[in-house]
């Protein structure tokens, strides 16, 4: 005859309402921290773009900007119509979450004279890479903290 032993935990493992709150709080906190990283990439810009956090669904957060210039700098362009001043040093460099002082600026814009495009800084990719490495640990810690 087989004897079955029922093993039951003494308390419920987690409270779903508290767990839900912990997940959304962590989601909001992480989205805010990520938007700070995006702001860091424009710290020395004269016209700083703003970053907005939206919730397309309860468990999703979207970080966006309405700055087309940020898009050109981050994603790069095929051509560039602006001619820069001699000795121009850009404020940002590819794959780097920072913004330095730089030097010079736009001398003139001539659409008839296309030049090699803007080198993509890939801010979104490098910020995503940084956070993807941390986000699992952050959420696990938040979820564990709800355990009874």
């Amino acid at each position: 005859m087989t004897k079955a032993v029922v093993i039951l935990p003494k308390h419920k493992v987690f409270d779903a309402a508290k767990m839900k709150l912990a997940i959304t709080n962590t989601l909001n906190g992480t989205a805010k921290a990520i938007s700070v990283d995006f702001s860091v990439t424009t710290q020395t810009w004269q016209h700083r773009p703003s970053f907005k956090i939206a919730s397309p669904s309860e468990y999703t957060r979207e970080i966006s900007t309405d700055s087309k210039i940020y898009g050109y700098v981050s994603r790069g362009t095929k051509v560039r119509y602006a001619t820069m001043t001699p000795g121009f040093v850009p404020k940002t460099v590819p794959f780097n979450i920072r913004s330095r002082r730089g030097r010079g600026g736009v001398l003139f814009v001539n659409k008839k004279r296309p030049r090699p495009g803007i080198k993509a800084r890939e801010f979104d990719k490098v910020i995503a890479k940084k956070w993807q490495a941390q986000i699992g640990i952050t959420f696990q810690r938040a979820i564990d903290s709800v355990a009874q």
């Binding site: 935990p9 493992v13 987690f14 995006f38 700055s67 940020y70 696990q140 564990d144 355990a147």
Partner: protein, 81 residues
């Protein structure tokens, strides 16, 4: 006004993340099912051997995230049952 999406954080079940093909640059994914599974396994291991605790986790995997996500809809706390 047109917005450029620079990053999205997705939290979902393991299967949803595995099946989702529309991830774009700057997208982050958090597997809630996996994180809850870790918690379940660790908690159960206090009461039973590791392999049994892993079995419990495997049985519940796929439902754990639903317990939290559907909490409001059900009006009860399914984790008590």
């Amino acid at each position: 006004m047109e917005y450029i999406i620079v990053g999205t954080i997705h939290t979902a079940k393991t299967a949803a993340i595995e099946d989702y093909t529309a991830f774009d640059r700057g997208d982050l994914c958090v597997d809630i099912d996996r994180a809850l599974g870790e918690l379940i396994e660790r908690t159960m291991h206090r009461y039973m051997p590791r392999d049994l605790a892993q079995g419990v986790r495997r049985q519940l995997c796929g439902d754990l995230a639903d317990i939290v996500i559907d909490y409001d809809k059900s009006g009860s706390n399914p984790s008590q049952t």
